[in-house]
């Protein structure tokens, strides 16, 4: 079954409705497992209990970036194949990705207060995530300004791709500019520098967050399709009233 088969919104809605309860249950179960593991993970020898913030902070950072990747793929789908569901997918992903990015910033700042002694520093990683959040806001603003959903979707798709080209450049330039945040420690050459007792629940939480993202995204896509149907029906109704 090809992706194009799901271009039919009715078929997609049917599938989404069938999948959503299962996804929700899986999300809750993984969260229960991950949170349990996170609460029982040993405290860090330097950071104490505050290391537990990591279980929220790191997965939300991953998903903040994952959100933009998803939007870029959806943008390609909109511009290249004109897949009717791609712009729905992109539009639905934007607020969710922005929310995860904000969550990453907030948890990071709460973690920074006891560890670095300040809520915010103009460090490279923090700043590039903040810029990512600003880019999300730009896409959201574009969606809010467009009066017709289709036209807004194509404009947002172009902006998403321009952002996708720019994000690595911004990351690189900000790294050049200033660095304090620790370098990547989960995935790196020569194995992870994190102890398995913490790494294991972290991965569980990452899977749980991803499932949460997928569930919310699918639900948001369903809502967006229904919203567009309501809009189309209203337009038809208004037309009928006008001609009558």
């Amino acid at each position: 079954m090809a992706v194009i088969d799901f271009a039919n919104p009715t078929r997609f809605l049917k599938l989404a409705n069938r999948l959503l309860p299962w996804l929700a249950v899986a999300t809750v179960l993984t969260f229960a497992y991950g949170l349990n593991g996170a609460l029982h993970a040993p405290d860090d020898y330097q950071q104490g209990a505050t290391v537990k913030i990591m279980f929220l902070h790191v997965p939300s950072a991953w998903l903040g970036m994952f959100g933009w990747m998803l939007m870029s793929v959806a943008a390609l789908g909109t511009l290249v194949w004109r897949h009717p569901l791609a712009d729905v997918a992109g539009k639905a992903a934007a607020p969710i990705g922005a929310a995860f990015t904000l969550l990453c910033l907030v948890t990071g700042s709460l973690w920074g207060r006891p560890m670095w002694g300040t809520y915010w520093v103009w460090d490279a990683r923090l700043t590039s995530v903040l810029v990512l959040f600003l880019l999300y806001l730009g896409v959201l603003a574009l969606y809010w300004t467009a009066e017709e959903p289709g036209r807004g979707a194509r404009a947002a798709a172009i902006l998403t791709l321009v952002g996708a080209v720019n994000i690595p450049i911004i990351k690189f330039s900000v790294d050049w500019w200033n660095t304090l945040h620790q370098p990547a420690s989960v995935f790196r050459m020569g194995g992870s520098s994190i102890d398995p007792s913490i790494l294991h629940p972290l991965f569980a939480m990452a899977i749980a967050f991803t499932l949460l993202f997928v569930t919310l995204h699918l639900a948001a896509m369903r809502n967006e399709i229904l919203r567009r149907r309501v809009r189309a029906m209203r337009l038809i109704q208004a037309q009928g009233l006008a001609s009558a």
Partner: protein
Amino acid sequence: MKSFAALLMRDVRLAVRVGGGALMGAMFFLIVVVMTPFAVGPNLRLLGLIGPAILWLGGELATLLALDRLFATDHEDGSLDLIRTGEIPLELAVAAKAVAHWLTTCLPLVVISPLLGLMLNVEARALGWVALTLLAGTPALTFIGLVGAALAVALRRGGLLLAILVLPLTIPVLIFGVAAANAAIAGPAPFGPPFTILCALSLASVVLGPVAAAAALRYAME
């Protein structure tokens, strides 16, 4: 090539004649720089330290000021449709408009920046280098802004949206521009690496900007 030059000349002429506002950007730049000592105090040492940053920020905002007119006026009077259906590829046409914008808005900024640098107590021997960073970096601002202007053209309140869309994307230009300017003034970091990256950013946006902007215009107007 002939139509490219014709379009370029048309835009430049429109900008320098009555109601075009070619020098508005430079005037705005001047006012931003004059406002700065009122905000931070007349301490010359401090002004000398933040001088390049003020010049770059002022230059960036002044570039942005004229951007929302780049397509909006042509869209209103219909000439954008003519350009779009003309024989010249849309990518080239928007590039011509961007070059015209750079000539009429950014080049005056670069020209007056040594004078304003002097007012901000930037070291005299570095004034030329600071102007050079602006000369190398402002094409990137124009051509990144071009994409934003094309995206905003068909939307209401597009001008307000433009700043929100474009400014985050210009952060790398600002970083390397100010880094190169500071290197020219104080050292000890060499001037070369940030300056060459700045040039690279400009060249890349000159190539990619028109393609994205033309795509945005096509979608906006269909």
